[in-house]
Every structure is written in C-alpha cells, then in structure tokens.
C-alpha cells in the first residue's frame, strides 16, 4: 500500500529541504566571500593538519631567508674590508721594493717608514669595521674592537688582538646563521688569522711583518728588508687572498641557498593555496546552481503548500 501522505508531512518535508538547501547555500556564500575552502578545522580535519604543517614550513623558510640575507650583508661588509686590506698590502709591497733600493738615502727611507705606519693604522681601521653594531673581525666578542686605539709613536703590544678565536678555531663555534632546516654556517672571519698580534708577538703575521719592516727602514737595515720582510709579506699576502677566496665562496653558497629557499617558498605557498583556498570558478558555479535550486524549491513549495482539493470544489 502506498504511504498515506498528510498535509503536515508535506509541509514539514518542504521546510526541512529548504533548510538543507539554504544551509548549503550559506556555506558556499561564506566560501566565496572568504576565498577559503577551510574556514574551520571541522570543514576538513586532514586538510587543516596539512595546512598547518605547510604554514609552519613556510614561516621557517621565511626566517631562513631573513637569516641568509643578514649573513649576506655581513659577508658583503667583510668582503669590502678585506678588499681595503688587500689594496693596502699591495701598496706596502711596492713601498718595500722602493725602500729596499740602494739608491734611496735614509731620509727617503724614514719617509717611507712613516707612510707605512699610516697604512698600518688604515689596515687596523678596516679590521675594526662594524656591521649593525657588531665588530666583524672580533670573533664572537662582537662588542669589543679587535684592535684598540694605539699610542703614537708605536709601542710593541699596541697591535694586540682583543677579540677571540671563535670561528677560526674549529673547537669554538663562531657566529652562526641557520640557512636551512638543520643547515648552519659560520659567517665570521677572525682578524687574528691574517693580521696577528703585531711586532714582538713572533707570529709572523701581517702586522708583525710590517712593524718589522718599519723598524728595518728606520735603522737602514736593507739586508733584513730584502732577505726576510719582503718574503714574509708575500706569504701573508697569499694567506689574505686565501681568506678572501673562502669568504667569497661563502657568499656564493649563501646566494645558492637563497635561491633554493625562494623556490621552496613558492612551491610551499602554492601547495598551501591548493590546500586551503577555494577554487573561485568552482565556488561561483556552485553558488549559482544552489541559488537556482533554492529558488526552485521555494516556488514548488509555495504552490504545493497553498493548493488542496478545496481550491477545486465549488
């Protein structure tokens, strides 16, 4: 037997159908207004978890990019200072050749010695370069000037290095930037590595050699100048170039890392958008068809609810 259909059944069914269509419509409207597929975790619990993980890796990625950019600024400043020092050392080399010449008299040598002293102060100034309030060449003692102000005339010990060896000594971590997940990189160069502690320290580094050369020029000891100072200067110059090359290689590595991070950011952003953003075209079509369905239901409901046999009986 067919089910008996009563008036209140019809009314109730129409009402509940209208309710379900209009709640779907509201959701689609919210989706198109916010542009988001997932508005609450319950809309798609799995998608929510995925979106959270993606957003986390996105924020980590952006922090790594900031780290790389900061490191690159640091490297650029370091490179600039190292370039200044290289230029000065080249100047010193030619001055020493000049000073070692037999044809020069003592007055000339004294003049060259004075110029050399000025150049040394210039090199120390370059080594005292600071970047964003941190001394570049002082290891992790970033608030200490690597080479303190010196007295004039020079007193042995004035050139003593004030920082630490963090970053040069492999046992002590230097200034580290995390440039990728779990990838850390030491970015600092320690001045003591190539400038040393000055005359009398016996370390044979740049400052030591140049101070010796000044002394030999003033005392007219050309033999020592030729036999030892010029060779040692040449060796130190090679070391300086090595340090610069290493620093340049670090800059290249940072640039490569930045490129990779940018690419990764793009693909993660893309993935995030796919996970939680609404497909606008699809949403609008959905909205249209649901609006049409809602209107049709309203019209059908209105005509069914109003008519009964009464309308046809006279």
């Amino acid at each position: 037997m067919a089910m008996r259909i009563t008036t209140s059944m019809v009314q109730r069914n129409i009402l509940s159908d209208l309710n379900s269509i209009s709640s779907k419509l509201t959701r689609t409207q919210m989706k198109s207004a916010s542009g988001k597929e997932i508005m609450r975790p319950s809309d798609d619990p799995f998608g929510t978890a995925q979106a959270m993980a993606l957003r986390q890796s996105l924020s980590a990625n952006q922090q790594h990019q900031r780290n790389v950019e900061d490191a690159m600024g640091w490297q650029d400043a370091t490179e600039q200072a190292l370039m200044d020092i290289t230029d000065s050392v080249e100047k010193v080399k030619s001055l020493l050749v000049q000073g070692a010449s037999d044809s020069l008299d003592q007055t000339g040598r004294d003049a060259i010695a004075s110029e050399l002293e000025q150049i040394i102060e210039g090199i120390k100034m370059a080594a005292n370069t600071s970047y964003r309030g941190s001394y570049l060449f002082a290891g992790t003692e970033t608030s200490t000037r690597p080479y303190a102000a010196t007295s004039n005339p020079y007193v042995p010990g004035d050139d003593a290095y004030q920082g630490d060896e963090a970053g040069w000594n492999p046992a002590v971590p230097g200034i580290i930037r995390e440039i990728g997940p779990g990838v850390q990189m030491s970015i600092n160069v320690v001045a003591r590595q190539f400038l040393g502690d000055g005359q009398g320290s016996g370390d044979g580094k740049l400052l030591d050699v140049m101070r010796d050369a000044v002394g030999n020029l003033r005392s007219g000891n050309i033999t020592a100048l030729r036999a030892s100072d010029m060779d040692r200067l040449e060796q130190n110059f090679d070391l300086l170039l090595e340090v610069r090359a290493e620093n340049g290689a670090k800059t290249n590595r940072l640039e490569a890392a930045l490129g990779r991070l940018t690419q990764l950011e793009e693909s993660v952003t893309d993935q995030l958008s796919k996970t939680e953003d609404a497909d606008i075209a699809e949403t609008l079509i959905e909205l249209n068809s649901q609006t049409a369905a809602y209107q049709a239901a309203l019209r059908a409901g209105a005509s069914i609810v109003q008519t009964s046999l009464m309308d046809f009986l006279r």
């Binding site: 008996r4 059944m9 509940s16 319950s42 003692e141 580290i176 600092n188």
Partner: protein, 202 residues
C-alpha cells in the same frame, strides 16, 4: 512547588540534550584543555630549560623565558619582554655567540612530547577537535534523517490530510443530500397517501 535539581541527580542522566551538555562541559572540553596544557607545558619546560643553560648579553645566566604552568597563564617573562638584552642567546657568554638561540630554535624539530614535536602535537589537537566536530555534525545529520522518516511514518498514520477530509466532506454532504432527498420523496408519497386517498371520482 519549585524544586532544585542537584548535581547528584544529574549524574543519572545518560541521554538527551541535558546529558549532552553535561558531557560537553565535564568531559569533552576539559579533555581538550588537558591536551592543550600538555603542549603548552612542554613548550614552557623545554624553552625554559634551554634558555636557562645560556647566557645573556651581559654574560649573566639565562633566567625564565616563559612564566606560568599551562595554557591559562602562559606568558613571556615580563622582565625579559621589557628588556630583550636578557634573552640568553649565547652559549658561552660571548656577545656574538648565538648557539643557545639556535638550540632553542631547534625545539621546532625536536620530539619532546612522546614522539611528537610541539608543533605536531598542537596540530594533532586541532585535528582531533576538527574531526570530533565533523563527527558530531554527521551524527546530527543521520539522527535528523532518522527522526524525519519516523515522523513521516507517524504522520502517515495519525496525521490529517486536507484532501482526504475534503473528499470525506463531499461524501458525507452527498449522503446527507441523498437522505434529505429520500425524506422529501417519502413526504410526497405520504402526502399522496393521506391527502388524496378516497377522493376518487370527485
């Protein structure tokens, strides 16, 4: 007489709206809060332990980073928020050393709650709440459909159909009309019988 319903009387409730609200208040939401507290407590404990191992810019030992014990009262140490120099980023007291900050940052990928990191534990909580809500919504949909179809069955038996009533109305009206017609016919017959009998040939 107004009566007070005691909490004890409510514990006997096992179904219905009231029982549902009670369950939400006493079991479901506190469960989420406990889970969130676990995540926050791990964050506080781990960060503080690592922060305390470091040194500030002035070379002093690192203090507390987060105050509080759970999700309700967690906050960045007020002294530290007012003076960022108190952040213990250094692992050996040197101003340029940032190894301790890196160690704290590494918490992001370190499993500290069972085999989960703080991030994944939090994501799990959000997913749990989301799928619970989705389940509840689905249950509601199913139950509504069930109620609707039962109600349909009931209405089908006990409900009023206007069409049916109209048909009956017409039927009974016709019957009434038929009976009246029968009566008036009878009346005419009697009229013939009583008033016109015996007057043949007048």
């Amino acid at each position: 007489v107004a009566s007070t319903v005691t909490e004890a009387a409510m514990t006997s409730l096992t179904s219905g709206k009231l029982a549902g609200l009670r369950q939400l208040r006493d079991t479901t939401v506190p469960g989420y809060v406990t889970q969130l507290d676990t995540v926050v407590a791990a964050l506080i404990a781990q960060t503080n332990a690592r922060h305390a191992a470091g040194f500030t810019l002035t070379g002093a030992g690192g203090g507390t980073f987060f105050t509080g014990t759970g999700s309700a009262d967690v906050a960045v140490n007020a002294a530290l928020a007012a003076n960022p120099a108190l952040v213990a980023a250094s692992s050996n007291g040197q101003p340029g050393n940032n190894a301790n900050a890196l160690s704290i940052a590494a918490l992001r990928t370190t499993a500290v709650i069972g085999s989960s990191t703080i991030d994944t534990a939090y994501a799990q909580l959000v997913t749990t709440i989301g799928s619970d809500a989705l389940d509840a919504r689905r249950d509601l949909d199913n139950a509504s459909i069930l109620v609707d179809s039962l109600e349909d069955r009931r209405q089908s038996v006990s409900g009023v159909s206007l069409d049916e009533e109209m048909v009956n109305l017409v039927r009974f009206q016709r019957a009434y009309q038929a009976s009246s017609r029968a009566m008036s016919t009878m009346d005419e017959m009697l009229d013939v019988l009583i008033n016109r009998t015996g007057r043949v040939g007048l």
